[in-house]
Symmetry: C2
Subunit: 149 residues, 2 copies
């Protein structure tokens, strides 16, 4: 994982549909060499998959909220319970008073309320504190340049 690899990752994050010739030119390599490096980045798992970025508002996810989930028992193996709710995009075990932090997207605040009800129904959950987002400044992928430290 050198500077060239990080630059390749940055360019692929911006546009994964570009040709290997263009990608190679951006880092001063031939198309074949760029292809080989990207193949290895996939092999190592640094690149997980090629995907498309979907506008949340276009598919019924205009309302964004973060929910602190309090519990009375250990939530360490409740991943599936949260994953079963399609509106829950992220679920993390956190340090602090609450035990799980989840990111939720719904079309309306009524649907958000329904998701909170379904979270509350999960075994061990004793309460929820929802924080509704009024405006999103930006959402962006992790910068490979952080690795340059």
């Amino acid at each position: 994982m050198d500077h060239i690899d990080r630059t390749l990752l940055t360019h692929l994050q911006q546009d994964a549909a570009q040709s290997y010739a263009a990608l190679g030119q951006a880092v001063g390599l031939s198309a074949g060499a760029a292809h080989e490096r990207v193949r290895k980045l996939r092999e190592r798992g640094a690149i997980r998959r090629t995907t498309v970025e979907v506008d949340p508002a276009a598919v019924g996810g205009a309302v964004l909220a973060y929910v602190m989930v309090d519990s009375v028992s250990w939530m360490g193996d409740s991943a599936e319970a949260f994953a079963a709710l399609p509106e829950v995009l992220e679920a993390h075990v956190i340090a602090g008073s609450a035990s799980v932090l989840v990111k939720v997207r719904t079309a309306t605040t009524e649907q958000l309320q329904d998701v909170l009800r379904r979270i509350y129904a999960i075994d061990g959950v004793s309460g929820t504190q929802a924080t509704v987002v009024l405006e999103t400044f930006f959402e962006r992928p992790v910068s490979p340049e952080l690795g340059a430290g």
Copy 2:
């Protein structure tokens, strides 16, 4: 945006490198028709871009934290100040006592501390409350099937 479009989006999220022939077969259309639908999804902005999913841990982002940022003044036009910090992956204006919620990834907790210092230096910021993630259950893209309501 009908059922076919939502299915196309779901398949593209899973693998944007597959052929239009395979994509069309998944929804019962010819490659040409699938191509035309995807082209329109891009045109409308439902698909923002084709990208790669990068493993955060592979590029110096192993530590994840959410930070509530309190302020003494209106933070509505401080988007650039947060965007200038590469470790800040998301920044949202929120309802509630704090005024901005940010998602941060760093390699170490020492670097997280440094990011908090730089956030504190932003004009109007009066305090930060960081919540460190101990374990991530999952992080996934918005489900196009939400739109089926």
